[in-house]
Symmetry: C3
Subunit: 271 residues, 3 copies
Amino acid sequence: MAKRQLVTLLTDFSTRDPYVAAMKGVLLRHCPRAEIIDITHEIAPQDVLSAAFVLAEATRSFPDGTLHVVVVDPGVGTDRRILAGDIGGQRFLCPDNGVITFVAESREQRELVVVSNSRYVPAATSRTFHGRDIFAPVAAHILNGVDLARLGPRPKAFTMLDVPRPVVAGEVLAGQIVYVDRFGNLVSNIPIAAVEPWCAALDAVRVSCDGREVGALQGTYDFVERGAALALVNSMGLIEVAVNGGSAAAVLDAGVGATVRLRREARGAEA
Amino acid sequence: MAKRQLVTLLTDFSTRDPYVAAMKGVLLRHCPRAEIIDITHEIAPQDVLSAAFVLAEATRSFPDGTLHVVVVDPGVGTDRRILAGDIGGQRFLCPDNGVITFVAESREQRELVVVSNSRYVPAATSRTFHGRDIFAPVAAHILNGVDLARLGPRPKAFTMLDVPRPVVAGEVLAGQIVYVDRFGNLVSNIPIAAVEPWCAALDAVRVSCDGREVGALQGTYDFVERGAALALVNSMGLIEVAVNGGSAAAVLDAGVGATVRLRREARGAEA
Amino acid sequence: MAKRQLVTLLTDFSTRDPYVAAMKGVLLRHCPRAEIIDITHEIAPQDVLSAAFVLAEATRSFPDGTLHVVVVDPGVGTDRRILAGDIGGQRFLCPDNGVITFVAESREQRELVVVSNSRYVPAATSRTFHGRDIFAPVAAHILNGVDLARLGPRPKAFTMLDVPRPVVAGEVLAGQIVYVDRFGNLVSNIPIAAVEPWCAALDAVRVSCDGREVGALQGTYDFVERGAALALVNSMGLIEVAVNGGSAAAVLDAGVGATVRLRREARGAEA
């Protein structure tokens, strides 16, 4: 049997409807060697920002050459473009709506095309389900060996989300919550790589979330007592506000957009 | 390695309990070549109508010969029969409770048997989990090459759901909502194939849902402003009532059973 | 292509976040032959008891040698140990927090090691996501053929949950609900194997749940009228309280911890 071709799916379809399975059926019909891994189908409907975040985090660890197909696509059926690309050794197929933002930002060696070659792009049989009618067959072509460059021309530009950036103001580094996970962990847009060069010492940093003090950066959740809030550097390398054994989103009543402030203090100062 | 054997699962088990994994374990134990694709496990408990709908829509696009195993089975442990069949090139294994209705209606070349040959049907070790104890091992036999005809005799009849049909009354074609998807899109039982021969021109059709006017048939969601209701022909070829960027189920406070009316007007008339 | 290596995942991550896919990516990167089956990712956050229950029930039917990876891990990043083992022919990799309890209880031939050999255990790149950083690469080593004995020494002891046991008092065998499934079925800790030697005849047993009588043991759900409560021996061999066509958890307002009493009566007595 020929080598299996790894392809992931990331959609906002949920798994309760026939949509995801219909896409998988088309993929397997056109590429019997496809090995399909679900990233998630639980993106909130049309939440391109969350999809962009999950895509970047989930795809870091896949084998080189994996194809990641994203169908979070509020503009389905309009003239929004479809992009295919090789970014940092992984391949992507997604609408040109900014869902590629964090992937494109974080990885070098980027090669993108606008999917448009009618030899490979079916005339859609629906205007509302391009996942089944366009993304799946194009993905199968890619898995079957069609070179990305043959799918269409390079774009002059492509859509990037206008994502908030952390800012430094005096002794404060301020960012915001950009993702809340199922545990209620509040993930900020502040990478540890931005914190380290700014503060004298990590143990002199104090964190607050929407004005609530959560103390110094901890090593892991269990470093504070059960039910207490804390801040830490999470597995994505981002500052995260959490509650040990609980939900920070619930305890702090905070969500996407909440302000996170890091204050640097003289080493050893009391918080 | 031998060719992998494609099998899908559609249940109302959810994925939070051990049940789906137990079925997969049995399948893989008896057929190591099984390649298992989930259609969905999120059918509402014992909702045979929704399962029938999802089955028909999801299975259209799978490779020929795929085996689809359905365990939405309120009658488990009673004397309800189990059917196996080849319908339109796809294979099915399901309880005889009407879940095959839309598949059987929409595809020709139908061959069904009542699964009963004790050589292939284990004496169930439980009366409440035939998914694990009967469906999975019988599915493995089918995947391993046992011909459907050996599983049992042809049924004289089998259960079909009493599904509502659209009706024409004068200038009105009336149907109802039969499925609501995760986006809150309201899917009716009115196929575009029934609309086209009835109306003079598609752009002269006006749609209402439970008495609320939603206008002409649109090309896609984005053809109306964000938050507005619309009607369109969906990816299944059915009339659907939706809200651009929102949930029609929530905005119109409508669900399964809601009335959908198409009114044909003189071409160009104002709605 | 080499033989595929079966591995299951059981976590409390849900499937909405990037975490499960990140684990799968690492598994496939280090073991391209891995065939990944999800047991569930819907364990309530940090609910080790439910995870232990689902693990034992789901893994019974898998092919011998299957590797089951469990990451329900409230102690992530602390000094809690990680166990690998071969128990009853199936292989396990899990935190030493009691999640192995029901598996270890129910199967003989148990061989466990504490995963600690630095040749196979990566220095974690995070302290909060050992699923991706430790469990997945160690699992890949096991799938690639590393013998369990090489992963670390045998433990002198390991953590077992303090699970309630059914007790006999006169004519009553009393236990409690330990699991509630998606149908609202209330699963007790009373195995039929404990009931049979205790009662003169199964049809002389009467069951109550939190003081509500539910009658004799039935063959299956459909043996009582729709909406009525009943008791039966479920597919796990445990006494279960259910409602035909409904949710016993809702109808009886009961959940984990509710008391279940079996009363033995003279054969043929009226309940």
